[in-house]
C-alpha cells in the first residue's frame, strides 16, 4: 500500500468518525448537581474507602453502552447488609444513573448495568450499609469518539 492509498483509507474512516456524535447531551451536569446527588445518597455522611469494587472499562469504546458493575463485600444477614447501591456519572447532564435497594434475600450486594456516558467522566459507586455507614469507589472512564465503522 502506498501513502496515497493509506490516506484514502484513513480518510474514509475519519469522515465517518467526524459524523454527529452518538449522544447529543446538551451539556454536562453542573458540579453542584453532582454534590447534590452524592448528598442525597450519603445523607451528608463522609464515604469511606474499601468494600466497594467498581468494574468498568478504562476506555469506553462506545459511550452509549458502558458496562459497569458494582460489588460490595457484605455478609448480607438481617443484622448486617447493604441497603443500597447507587451509580453516578459526574459529567452526565443528570448524574444519577441507578439506585438499587437491597435486602438480605439478595444474598450478595451486586449490581451490573449497561449505562451511557456523554463524555469522559468519573463514575462513582456508593454503598449504604444497614448500620448507616457509607462506602464508595470511583473510576474514570475515558469516552472516545468511537461511533464509526
Amino acid at each position: 500500500m502506498n501513502r496515497r492509498e493509506v490516506l484514502i483509507a484513513a480518510a474514509a474512516l475519519g469522515a465517518v468518525a467526524a459524523a454527529p456524535g452518538l449522544l447529543s447531551f446538551a451539556h454536562a451536569a453542573e458540579p453542584d448537581k453532582v454534590a447534590e446527588a452524592i448528598a442525597a445518597v450519603t445523607g451528608g455522611k463522609t464515604a469511606q474507602q474499601g468494600r466497594v469494587t467498581l468494574t468498568a472499562p478504562a476506555i469506553a469504546e462506545n459511550g452509549a453502552v458502558v458496562p459497569v458493575s458494582v460489588e460490595v463485600a457484605s455478609p448480607m444477614t438481617e443484622g448486617d447488609y447493604v441497603k443500597s447501591i447507587t451509580i453516578l456519572a459526574d459529567k452526565n447532564p443528570q448524574p444519577r444513573v441507578i439506585s438499587v435497594n437491597l435486602t438480605p434475600d439478595n444474598g450478595a450486594a451486586y449490581l451490573s448495568v449497561r449505562m451511557r456516558l456523554g463524555e469522559t467522566s468519573p463514575v462513582r459507586a456508593y454503598a449504604v450499609m444497614s448500620d448507616g455507614s457509607v462506602y464508595a469507589a470511583e473510576k474514570s472512564v475515558k469516552v472516545t469518539i468511537g461511533g464509526c465503522g
Binding site: 493509506v6 483509507a9 474512516l13 475519519g14 468518525a17 478504562a58 469504546e61 449497561r114 472516545t144 465503522g149
Partner: protein, 255 residues
C-alpha cells in the same frame, strides 16, 4: 516510518476533527471488550420474537412455518442445521439464495403471503431464529457446482475498488488489517460471518450481515448494493465461505 505512523501523520493533517489523535491509537483492550460481552445480548429478545413469528399462522390457508417444518407429519424437512449451508443454490429458482431470500420464498410460495422487506425487523427476527437452529454447527457453504459463478462474482465484488475513495472491502479488511484507526481495529473478516446476524452496540440494534456490508459501503463512500440483489447475495456467499468450518454462534454482539 511504518504504516501506522504514516497514517497518524496523514490523519493529523486532515481537515477533520481528530481530537487527541496521538492518545487514541490505542484500541479497546480484550479485557474491556469481554466486559461488553457479559450479560444478555439484546438480539436474543429479537430471536425470541422470530420464534413467535415462526409459529404464527398467516396467509389465506392460515399456515405457519412450523406447520410445514415441524410436527408429526412435516411437509418439509426440519430446519436444524439448514442455515449452515446458506447462501445456497436453489434449483427451482435457479439462483443462489441467502437465508433471508429462502425464508421469503417460503412466505410467498408456502404461506402465500407478502414477503417481508429485506431490511425489516421481521426478516431479521426470522433469520436469527432459523440460524439459531444451527448454532454450534459448522458453516458449510458450497462454492462449487452451480454456486461457483456466484462465488466468483462475490470475490470480485469484495476486491473491486469502488466509489469516491476508490476503496474495496479488501483494502481495509486485508491490506490494512492489523492497523488501528480511530479506535477501529481493522481486521480480516476471517470467520466473522459465523456470528451474524449480530447486535451492534454502536447502533443499539440488530442487523443482518448484508446490512453490515451496506454500513461498510456507505462509510467507505461506495454506492451501497441493495439487500437481496445478485451482487449482494454473491458477496454474502463469498464472505460466508471465508467462515467455512467455523462454529455458528448467533446472535453476535459486536461494536
Amino acid at each position: 516510518m511504518n504504516v501506522k505512523t504514516i497514517i497518524a501523520a496523514l490523519l493529523a493533517a486532515l481537515p477533520l476533527a481528530v481530537p487527541a489523535w496521538a492518545e487514541e491509537t490505542q484500541s479497546i483492550s480484550d479485557a474491556d471488550l469481554a466486559l461488553y460481552r457479559e450479560g444478555i445480548n439484546p438480539a436474543e429478545v429479537l430471536r425470541n420474537t422470530g420464534g413467535e413469528l415462526f409459529n404464527k399462522k398467516m396467509g389465506p390457508e392460515n399456515l405457519s412455518c412450523a406447520d410445514c417444518h415441524e410436527g408429526q407429519k412435516p411437509k418439509a424437512k426440519a430446519l436444524t442445521g439448514a442455515a449452515a449451508a446458506y447462501p445456497k443454490h436453489n434449483k427451482n429458482a435457479d439462483r443462489v439464495m441467502s437465508l433471508q431470500l429462502q425464508i421469503n420464498n417460503c412466505v410467498e410460495k408456502g404461506i402465500k403471503a407478502e414477503p417481508y422487506k429485506l431490511n425489516s425487523a421481521e426478516i431479521t427476527a426470522l433469520t436469527l431464529y432459523v440460524k439459531g437452529l444451527s448454532n454450534g454447527m459448522k458453516v458449510n457453504v458450497a462454492t462449487n457446482g452451480p454456486a461457483q459463478p456466484w462465488y466468483e462474482v462475490g470475490k470480485q465484488v469484495y476486491e473491486q475498488r469502488r466509489g469516491q475513495r476508490n476503496l474495496s472491502c479488501k483494502t481495509c479488511h486485508d491490506e490494512l488489517a492489523g492497523h488501528t484507526l480511530r479506535m477501529q481495529k481493522l481486521a480480516s473478516i476471517g470467520a466473522g460471518a459465523s456470528h451474524w446476524p449480530a447486535y451492534r452496540m454502536v447502533n443499539g440494534d440488530t442487523f443482518l450481515i448484508e446490512q453490515r456490508f451496506k454500513q461498510c459501503m456507505s462509510n467507505a463512500r461506495m454506492a451501497p448494493l441493495k439487500e437481496g440483489s445478485d451482487p449482494m447475495v454473491a458477496l454474502e456467499l463469498y464472505v460466508t465461505s471465508l467462515a467455512n468450518g467455523a462454529a455458528i454462534e448467533t446472535p453476535g454482539f459486536v461494536r
